[in-house]
């Protein structure tokens, strides 16, 4: 059983293909980074996994359950940090964690969770409406881990976090992975995923253009980009998303143009 299996997954909004025939398998226990610029279709894909939106075509299974036909089974086993979420401004941090416990059917050791997410106990007694973005993000992450999920789905978990928050997130992801949890998270900042991911997938305008390990991508970049080799470095230390995009999108554009030429001449 795969943690996540996408088969020819497609979501169309009118003329716009938000997700365009994506095939992807993520194994159990893997930490997978889902990369791409804003608007690439990352959130749409994740929202289909969570049955927030319904695909136009193809299927998505999560931990062996069909995301659209068996959403409850999925949600009972998955912890989620959704895109564009917000907290209940009149409920305290503690009340949020208690709510997550009640909805997941488990007792929550609030102090342990607070410790794990780096939220001060005094802050947990304040309404979430008074929280900074970083504090809200930590609390939401804490809620996602309640109930010991088999899979964590984190949509842009580093957005709004300061460097300290980012490193805390990386530690949390590592700790969850060490406990055997599969982690699937999206980001538009490569720097945030490369240290923790076993593999990454790159999504561009709805299409999955590359799936590889970080090292695999690094080698591809150094092999294909003469500028990098000319600088004398064996492997680029700074593997940027921009470099990856240049590599993969110009490659596909070139092959597309080549394929188009004979037809165009007729």
């Amino acid at each position: 059983m795969a943690a996540i299996q996408l088969t020819d997954l497609t979501k169309r909004y009118g003329d716009h293909l938000a997700v365009d025939g994506v095939d992807l398998t993520i194994e159990l226990g893997e930490v997978f980074g889902f990369l791409g610029p804003n608007g690439a279709g990352k959130s749409t894909t994740i929202n289909i996994l969570l049955d927030f939106i319904r695909p136009t075509g193809g299927t998505a299974t999560v931990l062996g359950y069909d995301a659209q036909r068996e959403p409850r089974a999925v949600h009972e086993r998955v912890g989620v940090l959704p895109e564009g979420y917000s907290l209940y401004d009149r409920l305290t941090g503690r009340e949020h964690l208690r709510l997550a416990g009640r909805l997941n059917g488990c007792s929550v050791d609030v102090e342990t969770v607070l410790d794990r997410i780096g939220l001060a106990p005094a802050d947990a007694e304040r309404p979430a409406g008074t929280y900074s973005t970083g504090m809200s993000q930590r609390l939401a992450l804490g809620m996602a881990t309640v109930g010991d999920p088999d899979l964590l789905v984190l949509d842009e978990p580093t957005s709004g976090l300061d460097p300290h928050g980012v490193s805390l997130l990386k530690r949390l992801v590592r700790a969850e992975a060490d406990r055997g949890t599969t982690v699937f998270f999206s980001s538009h900042v490569l720097d945030h995923v490369e240290a923790v991911c076993d593999r990454v997938g790159i999504l561009d305008t709805g299409r999955l253009i590359a799936v590889d390990t970080i090292n695999g991508l690094r080698e591809a970049v150094s092999a294909e980009m003469p500028g990098v080799e000319a600088s004398g470095a064996e492997l680029p230390d700074e593997l940027t998303l921009e470099a990856l995009f240049e590599l993969y999108t110009t490659g596909t554009d070139a092959s597309r143009q080549q394929a188009a030429v004979p037809g165009g001449e007729q």
């Binding site: 939106i53 319904r54 009972e76 989620v80 895109e83 997941n104 059917g105 488990c106 949890t181």
Partner: protein, 301 residues
């Protein structure tokens, strides 16, 4: 597949999840400054009504009948404020994703919202009517327990009707602004436009305005108005003198103050009896929720 002793799920039932959401909704609701202000307005108005009843000392005026009038404004407004953003507001802000990312289904979220909103409403009305008992003792001297209980039951049903309408609309649309506009529009519609609309239906069917004698279905349409049903239910439940707070300009027959039997010129059919008013109010609660839910379940969020 790791295990910890502290937070391993033991499983929940649908009822657990609905109750957890209702509980959250109740706590969030009673902390709302707007609803606190509205409760203060209810308490102030109640005191004012009994004080006025004492000062006027008019035996034909029932204080409880008088109290029924402001309740028909404040309680629908409270229900709309509780319900109209309940689902759409969370959909807009994104907290709905947090909730739906956990085990509850969309249906359970809506039912939890309904239950939680109803608890806020019932708690507010319990305080109001407890206060009314006290104030009536201090002003008019006697405590009209029977009429107050009657109007309290009818008022809970009225609140439920507008709560159901609001949550139904809230489930069907994607932003709080839209659901607020639609539910307030519906409230204004049942208050100001119901009679012309019903008369318009009659005109379409018969080509003229209603005369002295009117068909039963015309009265049924008129009595399907939740505000009208509230007045009927209040009087039926012992709170004599509650009249409906809605605009009526005499379009529905030339003999509007006559009894039902006289207006339709025959014995009263079951659907025009007073207990049907309770069915009407429950219908305003249930039908919009079911319809809104059907749409919400299919929506891309």
């Amino acid at each position: 597949m790791s295990t910890t002793t502290a937070d391993t799920p033991t499983g929940t039932t649908g009822l657990d999840r609905v109750a957890a959401i209702a509980r959250k909704e109740f706590v969030h609701g009673v902390r709302s400054r707007t609803l606190q202000v509205l409760l203060a307005a209810l308490l102030g108005t109640t005191a004012l009504v009994f004080w006025a009843a004492e000062r006027l000392a008019d035996p034909s005026l029932s204080p409880v009948g008088l109290l029924g009038l402001p309740l028909q404004l404040l309680v629908p407004v409270a229900a709309i404020l509780i319900g109209s953003a309940a689902v759409s507001g969370e959909r807009e802000s994104g907290s709905l994703r947090l909730l739906l990312g956990m085990p509850p289904s969309r249906t359970e979220v809506v039912l939890g919202k309904l239950l939680g909103g109803a608890s806020v409403l019932v708690a507010g009305l319990a305080v109001t009517f407890g206060w009314a008992l006290l104030v009536s003792r201090l002003t008019v001297g006697s405590v009209p327990v029977g009429p107050l209980v009657g109007v309290a039951i009818a008022t809970v049903l009225l609140g439920g009707a507008f709560l159901g309408l609001s949550i139904g609309v809230s489930s069907a649309v994607s932003t709080a602004k839209r659901s607020l506009a639609a539910t307030f529009g519906a409230f204004l519609g049942v208050t100001f436009l119901w009679e012309p609309l019903v008369a318009g239906v009659y005109y379409l069917v018969s080509g003229s305005l209603p005369g002295a004698e009117v068909p039963g279905w015309l009265l049924f349409l008129d009595r399907s108005n939740p505000i009208e049903a509230y007045a009927i239910a209040s009087n039926m439940l012992g709170a004599a003198g509650v009249s409906s707070l809605r605009v009526s300009i005499g379009l529905l027959g030339t003999n509007p103050s006559a009894g039902v039997a006289e207006r339709i010129g025959q014995t009263v059919p079951v659907y025009l009896t007073d207990p049907v008013s309770v069915v009407v109010l429950v219908g305003w609660l249930v039908v919009p929720v079911v319809a809104g839910l059907a749409r919400f379940r299919r929506a891309d969020l």
